[in-house]
Symmetry: C2
């Protein structure tokens, strides 16, 4: 006990001396706070930082990862109870909320090459002496893709690279057709669920997904257990449900999967795959790919296996047989509340999932234990007399891995309440070493930059903001982004697609959202394998939990500021600036497509493709495409101008208000907050996106053909990408109206602020 106290003191002293380096930031007034409240908030945050303990993270990770704890497993339930007990012990009103969700697990998994030779895929990851939990074979979920349909198919194999739509265009150019074939795609280039979806659209009857050593194996570094990277037999489990349609329980879209929920028959569930899908290791992929012939794959498609990558079809012929137990299993969400003292109906929600594919030390426990430590430290502040103005809700979600089940069902169950009360949702998931990744709603861009300026990087003793900025200046993907990192007041934050539990909050309800985590240095290839273990994490990822503590400091500080601020610290200039970028991107997209279409059509009509083609290699010239019409973007442009002006006016009003010392009455502050909360809600429409009404946000969505990857202004952008010009024109009007709604809310907030003059 003594030694721990001593260490905490040492950390406190260290932190104090470091804060001195960023004194300018620490003396700045915090957004949303009066001068006075800003100072006491900073003092509170210093106490918060001082009480964070790396030992907690280590012990909790060890405990929670001790056995496999996937959705539906005994240890998953045990973990939920353990987490709930902790929250209770720290003073939170805690409950475990239970849902009942469809979760298929494998009954039969057979993949064999039947021609030109026979090979039966191992589809098993061997236990390793160097990894203490890797031998828990009886409790481990085997390697599989959740929500693949049952199937028993035999067919010639075709290599389809990442299996995204563009790859099928390349195949067509080489005369390769996947109809009636089984495709093999490598992981990467898109979210995995896109691969079987696109394969089925092109007529394939089965889909194999493998981890190529180029992306996820020895090409990246020494393999486990010598190094951190995926070894020959490591394979990636994962969901292949069509989550860009809707996430959560496939049987209960738009509705919480409670005991009595209305459930679709399994055969009607639209998010199950259309064809059987199976993930394999590169050890299992090698014999299959080596036996392929046909044209060579394009250069960029070739991975790091020591073979020529041919496309097929065949002669490799494979037999894939999959059968699943289509069970309904319980999901346990842990929900813990600290009631707000002044505005209990405004909720700051913080979440991370607790279920894993196997032992899940990095995914998700690295993020979860940081969240728990935040909550514990906050509980200590409460015990010492502090109370948050707003209600704080800590969540540990179950069933994220198969499809954001726990979070989605909870959000769907409490949708009305959340629409009224949810101010901000802050998500984390896996955490590693390196740079802070900041993503989320752009109304929070300035806010989270402010937080990042006040958290110290454990390796470099500068703020995590400064380190991220240095990284963008040196390693930014292009000159514009490098210059922007140097010159823009705030670092631009990434827009959110999907891939973790923020999706239902942001995209279904319209709750302003942040997703935070550290990464870029603690690399490796344990993702969704049995080797994502305590041993692997503490050797290769964040051995001393320093970045776990940094995450606690970052997300915890965000929660504290959001909970304590006099006025919710959202802002709209950053939003308008980002929407400006998106509007110009979609306009440029149409222009580029027009030019490219004209260029290609001309080349086709001049027979240039035939003239260039090598007669020794199969080659089909591209087909001419209809020209790209000019589209009326004016509604979007006008809405953008209005948004920019509204943002500017709010800024001016806020500056004036701050200069006056922030003199709204508590009731007026509450009213203002309510308007501000509605600004993100105003970015949604009741109808949602075309063909996927569950997704209601009009600025951010996961791509229908990219999965996790974000599409901004999705209805417009995807209509253009799909060459649906009529829909593009129609959606421009809808998105413009939506932006006008946002401007109207901002104007209301401005008026409320000015009403005090």
């Amino acid at each position: 006990m003594r030694s721990r106290l001593f260490r905490s003191l040492a950390i406190l002293l260290l932190c104090s001396s470091l804060f001195a380096q960023t004194a300018t930031n620490n003396s700045a007034q915090l957004q949303g706070f009066t001068r006075e409240d800003s100072d006491s908030e900073r003092a509170l945050e210093a106490r918060f930082d001082a009480s964070l303990r790396r030992e907690d993270l280590r012990e909790w990770m060890r405990r929670l990862s001790a056995r496999p704890h996937h959705l539906g497993s005994a240890y998953d339930h045990d973990n939920a109870q353990f987490i709930a007990e902790q929250f209770r012990s720290w003073g939170y009103e805690t409950e475990i909320e239970e849902f009942h969700v469809l979760f298929p697990t494998p009954k039969t998994r057979l993949l064999e090459m039947v021609s030109p030779e026979h090979y039966t895929a191992k589809i098993a990851e061997p236990p390793l002496a160097e990894d203490a939990t890797s031998n828990q074979t009886a409790e481990q979920l085997p390697v599989y893709n959740a929500y693949s349909v049952d199937g028993d198919v035999t067919g010639q194999l075709v290599y389809v690279n990442y299996g995204v739509p563009r790859d099928y265009e390349e195949l067509e150019r080489r005369g390769v057709d996947v109809r009636g074939k089984i495709v093999i795609a490598r992981y990467g280039g898109s979210w995995r669920g896109i691969k079987p979806k696109v394969a089925a659209e092109h007529g394939a009857i089965g889909c194999i997904i493998y981890s190529d050593p180029r992306n996820d194996g020895y090409f990246q570094g020494d393999v486990y257990p010598k190094g951190a990277w995926r070894n020959e037999w490591g394979a990636q489990r994962g969901s292949v449900a069509d989550m860009p349609l809707y996430p959560g329980d496939p049987l209960t879209p738009n509705e919480g999967a409670t005991t009595n929920a209305h459930r679709l028959p399994i055969k009607n569930a639209p998010t199950l795959t259309k064809i059987p899908v199976m993930p394999i290791s590169y050890g299992d992929a090698l014999p299959l790919l080596r036996a392929l012939s046909g044209p060579m794959a394009p250069d960029e498609w070739r991975g790091a296996l020591p073979i020529p990558y041919h496309l097929g079809p065949g002669p490799t012929t494979v037999h894939l047989k999959l059968e699943f137990n289509w069970d309904i299993v319980p999901a346990y969400d842990v929900i813990a509340r600290l009631r707000g003292s002044e505005r209990p109906d405004e909720w700051i929600i913080r979440g991370n999932h607790h279920d894993a594919w196997v032992n899940g030390a990095e995914d998700p426990l690295s993020g979860l234990v940081a969240e728990m430590e935040e909550a514990r430290a906050m509980g200590e502040l409460v015990k010492s007399g502090w109370k948050p103005k707003r209600t704080i809700v800590y969540c540990a979600w179950d069933g994220e891995e198969p499809g954001l089940l726990g979070s989605t069902e909870w959000v769907e169950t409490h949708a009305d309440m959340l629409r009224r009360n949810a101010a901000v949702y802050i998500n984390s998931d896996t955490n590693s070493r390196g740079y802070l990744s900041m993503e989320g709603s752009h109304t929070l861009e300035h806010f989270i930059n402010g937080v990042a300026r006040d958290v110290i990087d454990p390796e470099k003793k500068i703020s995590v903001y400064e380190r991220d900025r240095a990284n963008r200046i040196i390693n930014g993907s292009d000159e514009d982004s490098r210059r922007e990192a140097r010159e823009r007041a705030d670092l631009r934050i990434g827009a959110l697609g999907s891939g973790s539990d923020f999706t239902p909050f942001l995209q279904h309800i319209g709750v302003a959202t942040l997703n935070l985590g550290y990464g870029g240095e603690g690399n490796g290839g344990s993702y969704h394998s049995i080797y994502d273990s305590f041993d692997h994490f503490t050797r290769f990822i964040d051995p001393n939990f320093e970045y776990g503590i940094a995450l606690s400091q970052t997300a915890g500080r965000a929660v504290l500021r959001l909970a304590n601020a006099d006025v919710l610290p959202v802002e709209f200039t950053g939003l308008a600036d980002n929407v400006d970028v998106y509007v110009h991107e979609v306009m440029k997209l149409a222009d580029d497509m027009r030019e490219e279409t004209e260029r290609k059509n001309r080349q086709i009509s001049e027979h240039l493709y035939e003239q260039v083609a090598d007669p020794a290699t199969p080659s089909v010239p591209p087909k001419p495409q209809s020209i790209v019409p000019f589209i009326n973007f004016a509604p979007l442009q006008n809405a953008l101008v209005r948004l920019q002006e509204s943002a500017k006016s709010y800024d001016a009003a806020m500056r004036a208000y701050t200069a006056r010392g922030g003199n709204l009455s508590p009731a007026a502050e509450r009213e203002l907050d309510e308007i501000l909360m509605r600004t993100e809600r105003a970015m949604t429409t009741q109808e949602g996106l075309p063909r996927r009404p569950w997704f209601k946000h009009q600025i951010y969505a996961p791509g229908f053909y990219t999965g996790y990857g974000v599409k901004t202004l999705p209805a417009v952008r995807e209509a253009i990408e799909q060459r649906n010009w009529a829909e593009a024109s129609g959606q421009i009007v809808i998105v413009a109206k939506t932006l006008d709604q946002v401007s109207a809310e901002i104007d209301r907030a401005t008026a409320r602020l000015r009403g005090t003059e």
Copy 2:
């Protein structure tokens, strides 16, 4: 005999019908000809085309590749005699000119890994049942690099990627030093001789060069004998003499290696390597690279071996022992002449080498047999009564492989005569299937475009110009080059660096030069191996010798036109346009370096590199560099303007002359030719390039640190690249004066043309 005649007729008929497709070109007046002479020239070319026979190419290739025929071998001499006999039988005045050159061959070759385990490199290519000549082990030169010094070194291994200067900067950034170490570099990224040169400059004591399967093996396609690509034990022989200093016999720079030539002592020969060098297969490289540890190589450095590419140093420790027989051997150049009827002292020289590393079916016989067929067909024209106006000289060079020995020694021996008489040199070397590659002096750009418009692609039945243009429009490396291919009157031809026998003509003497060949489709990995055989060539490269015939048609047509033209068909607008590009490139180079230096220095002074660096990975921030001063490019810019104006005036004068029907007296035409021949001579200086006076051309040179790759305006460009600002300023003045000399010659030619008005 009958069937051959029939086939020739069929080809003739086919060609006739095809020519109809490009009728506009065939009716156009040929550059340098009067209308009348143009028509008779076209008729002559049709007869020439009609007499070309694929069977000849096949039989000669079979005969010449039947045994290994490297410099100094019995079969090399036998081949020279065979070739000379052929030329004599076709009516050429033929001689074999003999030189005596230094040619080291291996006595001891030992490469072994002594730690962490023991492995002795095989350094041997196994005979294959599928390749009839691969088992001629007794006559094959073993795998080695010619002009490596003897050596016996042991040291830790470091992987240096391509081993070019930029790669050593990356190593420094990762804290890896090669002093006292043995480096292993992969083939590619530069000419091979650069690798040991740069390694020695950085303090390495030995150099291994291997063929990575990424560049030259299974990553590219099925390996031999299943496919065309380099197999596990295939290795690339080749010269590593410092040819950017001077090519040819290392002992006789600037002087023909005749019996009584002055010879340097071997130990003083500056073009021998400074450290021992040895090429190996990827089969031999794998154990060495697999045992390396240390930091991971940068992503782009990683090849296709199934291992993590570490940099080292060590623990791999290797022992390299090399001893050579330092023999002086005879080189046999075959020189065959058709004396010009009107201007015998103006020579059109055509050459291809005949020596190979082993059997050399593709390199060099694919080009040589096409040249021989040209010469045979031309001989037939002579027998039927035609006589060239100018003298035609056909050459078959020996000793190209070790270092352009035969051509260089011949040029050095006859330098004065060539300065007086050489009008144009046309080179070819290996030939394959695909697109015409046109490189050379830009005074011949318009001319060779005209030739390409009149040769029909055997696969596509359009002109080879059209096919090349289509390829550039579709596959051009950037938008500018794609647009240019569509819009520019002529396809831009490549500038020449080095790598084949054109170098002494162009760069030592200043003879206008072309280098021609087909390629892009018949790919494979037999280069400089025992598998470059008749079997390999006729399976994978140009099975029916269709592109061999296309090369005969292209180079033969060029020779015929150059030999018959009333006025030498050189032109200067294309030259000026290309020099314009080069001048702007070197100006931009300095500007870009200035900006980049400022950017980097700022980042260094702000400690951004330290802030970004991962403490778990060794990393050394770059060192600040002195700022790039503004350089006076005005002399170059003024010289360019003068060149452009001179070119324009010559064009106008030539148009007027042509419109008048071309009415110079024979003597005046001869005088004009002499001036035109001097224009390329005027691009040279007596002093040559800084530190390498053998290279006299001021517009084209092989890069001092790239080898084969061209550097245009080399003295200026390389001074800037090496940050030698004083030298850059000085060389700008010299190059400007040289360009002024060229303009003065052009003005003289213009005056001569106008003198007839």
